[in-house]
Every structure is written in structure tokens, then in C-alpha cells.
């Protein structure tokens, strides 16, 4: 997360910080369970007042965006990020579902459906191997 503050602006500094962190949470740049930099770290990086950073975190906690766990840090509230693999499995499932449904409608048994899947998989593997040989 890349925080930036315009100190000379008429917009309160804690509000500037809040908005950026909220935006990062809304856009998925930071996700549930993720730890945010400590008050001291942000204050040091931006060479700004630590009380103002603390105020931003306090207000974000009140707004339900972060959770301040005393002694361990500040964490984003919300659903945790899905792993890439999980996302992939879900997408592939979504794509396969209509094909399986169609197979069932055509009267294929479970074993026949599996065989269709295996055949397609090995055909893709063969094609890939042939493509490599030709290169």
C-alpha cells in the first residue's frame, strides 16, 4: 500500500489516510486478515505525526475497516483472500458444469461421464506433446 499525504491541503490529514486505506480495502489491494503497517512505521515513512496516524486507525476501526489487536498490530477486516488455486478450481467447475449437465440430459452414466473427461484430458495432453515435438 502506497500512502501519500498532502500536508498543505485543507483536508484533515487523518481523513486523507482513512480514504486511501478504505480505497485499498474496497479495491482488493489489501484483504481481510492482512496486517497493515504500524503507526510508528507509517509516521516514520511519511515523516508525519504518529497521533494523526493513530487517529486514522481509530476511525477506521470504528468504521469496521480495520481491527486493532493490541500488542500484535492492525489488521484488515473482511473475507480473506482466496488462493489462486481456489479461484482456478471454482472457474473450471463453473465452465464444466453445463457440459456435465448436458451429458446427464443425454442419458450418460456416471462412469461414461468420467470416461469422456479422461479421454478429453489425454487428448489435450497428446496435442500438447505433439506441438512440442513439432517445435
Amino acid at each position: 500500500m502506497n500512502l501519500r499525504v498532502d500536508f498543505s491541503s485543507g483536508v484533515p490529514i487523518y481523513l486523507q489516510l482513512m480514504e486511501q486505506i478504505k480505497h485499498a480495502a474496497d479495491s482488493g489491494a489489501i484483504r481481510g486478515g492482512e496486517q497493515l503497517p504500524t503507526i510508528r512505521k507509517i509516521a516514520e515513512e511519511l515523516a508525519m505525526n504518529p497521533n494523526t496516524v493513530a487517529r486514522a486507525y481509530r476511525e477506521l476501526e470504528r468504521a469496521g475497516v480495520v481491527e486493532v489487536r493490541h500488542g500484535s498490530g492492525v489488521f484488515v477486516v473482511g473475507p480473506p483472500a482466496l488462493s489462486k488455486k481456489t479461484v482456478g478450481i471454482r472457474k473450471a467447475g463453473d465452465a464444466l458444469r453445463p457440459a456435465i449437465k448436458q451429458g446427464i440430459a443425454l442419458g450418460l452414466s456416471e462412469a461414461e461421464l468420467r470416461r469422456v473427461f479422461e479421454d478429453e484430458l489425454s487428448r489435450l495432453k497428446d496435442n500438447a506433446a505433439e506441438a512440442r515435438r513439432n517445435n
Partner: protein, 297 residues
């Protein structure tokens, strides 16, 4: 709100019958960094000298760490917890950097050797060099080192970054922030640089002609104050001056600029009733607050 570590009530001081401070009231809560602002001659240095015990007020009261500072004994007790970094940087002219540090260290049982080392390294101060041969910036750094290593609860500084280049200034600001984050050290410093005050301070205290005109949390001031720009088709009505919550009013022909705090909505409604043909509301920067409050009405 945090415990108030420094406050004054009706502090007054005159020189040769001319008042430098009149009824000065300010409050600094623990752990805050308070920027002390004002034009030259507004009373900043006089205030700092009174607070640091270098001068006595004609009247009024100073409270530090919860106690009134009245007697000599109370004054000495309070001074032990403050450190004063002055603009003239009066260090001992016959000593080297190392000697100055050793000499000062002897007076303070709570001396922080770790901080001494840390800042010697950070500032890259030449230990063997005589103090008068140091640059202005280096003398400031040495003063800061002495103030911080003695473990003062309340460093008070008169223009701590004057004579420093922008990179060094940034380092000093970072150190001030770090101090405030660490042990709840409270920092009170005067400055001419609005940019550094709005960067590092959570509180500002603005004085003009010996009195406090603004004292508060900087972000709250930004949230409370608004600039209202009004345009009228003809001569702006006189009643504008009676609008609620107005701090400052300026006319430029058919245009009027208002600095308003508290009840901005009410002021807007009233301005519309008075026939403004155009109304614009803007946030207010520290610079505008400063200029509007220290310029003649």
C-alpha cells in the same frame, strides 16, 4: 483527552511598559507535537523564555506536569523535565563536541547513552571538533542531541530547523515524530515554516500581538474552518459582518471572502438570504488560517 503537561493562564509580560504578552492562554496535552506560530514580534520567544524559566512573568500562571510553577523550588523541579533548545544555540565555546556531551551528561542521571550514540551517528557530528567551528546546522543538531539524550519529557525548541537544509529538516522532523511515538514525549516548538508545522504537528498554537488566536488540533481546525466566497450583483450588504461564526471578512468590490468556523451551514443560509448571486465553499489551509488571523482586520 490526554493529561495536560503544559498550560498557561493569563500570562503577561511587558518590557519598558510595552506589553509583549497579554493574557496568554494555551494548553499542550501529553504526547502531542505542538507548533507555536506567530509573526516576528508576536511574543513567541518571550513565551518560550517564560516557559523555560529564563524569565519571570509579570502576572499569570504557568502549570507544568499538573503543578503550578510559582516558587523557585517548583521551577527547578519542573525544569528538570523540560529541555530548551534555543535559537541562539548558546553552547560552551571552549569545548569540543565530545567534551560538551560529557559535560552535559554529568548533570543528568537519566542520560540515554543509546540515544547519544544514535544521534551522533545519524548527524555524523565530528566529535573532536570545537563547537564554534561547527556549522549552524551542526550546532542545532548538537543541541537537539543534548536535549534528547537527557531524556526530557518536554523538549521546547525555538526554531529548531532554522539554518538546516531540507534533507536535514526532514530528518529532524522524523526524530520529533519518533520521540512523540516512543515514550509519550511532548514537544513544543516555535517555527516560521508552516510547511514543517503542518507536516509534523498534531496541534498548533497561533499567537498574535501577545495573545493566542488559535489553539487546537490541526485536523480539527481544518474540519471546522471553511472559506465562503460570495459574489453579489451590487454592493455587498453591510449585514454580512454580523453573520454567525465569522472569524474574518474581506471585500473586493462585489466579492466577499469569509473565514467561518462553527455553524458553516447557518452562515451559508444567511448569505443566500442577503442575496448572494454566487456562493462557493472551500476547505481552509493552515497558511490561510495563519494569514487571516495575523493580518490587520
Amino acid at each position: 483527552m490526554n493529561e495536560i503537561v503544559l498550560s498557561t493562564s493569563n500570562l503577561a509580560k511587558s518590557f519598558d511598559g510595552k506589553p509583549a504578552l497579554r493574557r496568554l492562554n494555551l494548553e499542550v496535552p501529553r504526547g502531542s507535537i505542538c507548533g507555536f506560530l506567530g509573526r516576528n514580534g508576536a511574543g513567541k520567544t518571550t513565551t518560550l523564555k517564560l516557559l523555560s524559566g529564563m524569565m519571570r512573568p509579570d502576572s499569570g500562571e504557568i502549570r507544568m506536569f499538573g503543578d503550578a510553577v510559582k516558587s523557585e523550588a517548583q521551577s527547578i523541579a519542573a525544569r528538570r523535565r523540560i529541555a530548551f533548545v534555543s535559537e541562539d544555540k548558546d553552547l560552551y565555546s571552549f569545548m569540543t563536541v565530545d567534551q560538551t556531551i560529557r559535560f552535559t551528561r554529568a548533570f543528568f542521571p537519566a542520560w540515554r547513552l543509546d540515544l547519544e550514540e544514535k544521534y551522533l551517528d545519524l548527524f555524523e557530528l565530528p566529535r573532536k571538533k570545537a563547537v564554534p567551528k561547527l556549522s549552524k546546522g551542526m550546532r542545532t543538531q548538537l543541541m537537539l542531541l543534548l536535549a534528547m539524550a537527557r531524556g526530557a519529557d518536554l523538549p521546547m525548541m525555538d526554531e529548531p530547523t532554522s539554518g538546516l537544509d531540507p534533507a536535514m529538516t526532514e530528518d529532524i522532523l522524523r526524530i520529533l515524530g519518533d520521540l512523540a511515538a516512543t515514550d509519550g514525549t511532548t514537544i513544543f516548538f516555535s517555527s516560521h515554516q508552516l510547511a514543517e508545522v503542518e507536516q509534523i504537528c498534531d496541534r498548533v498554537c497561533l499567537i498574535d500581538r501577545g495573545q493566542v488566536v488559535i489553539d487546537g488540533v490541526l485536523d480539527d481546525l481544518k474540519a471546522e474552518y471553511r472559506r465562503i466566497l460570495l459574489v453579489f450583483d451590487g454592493e455587498p450588504p453591510r449585514e454580512l459582518a454580523d453573520l454567525p461564526g465569522i472569524d474574518h471578512l474581506r471585500r473586493h468590490g462585489r466579492t466577499v471572502s469569509l473565514l467561518v468556523h462553527t455553524d458553516v451551514e447557518a452562515a451559508l443560509d444567511r448569505a443566500q438570504e442577503l442575496g448572494a448571486s454566487s456562493v462557493e465553499v472551500r476547505p481552509v489551509t493552515l497558511k490561510e488560517l495563519f494569514l487571516d488571523h495575523v493580518r490587520g482586520e
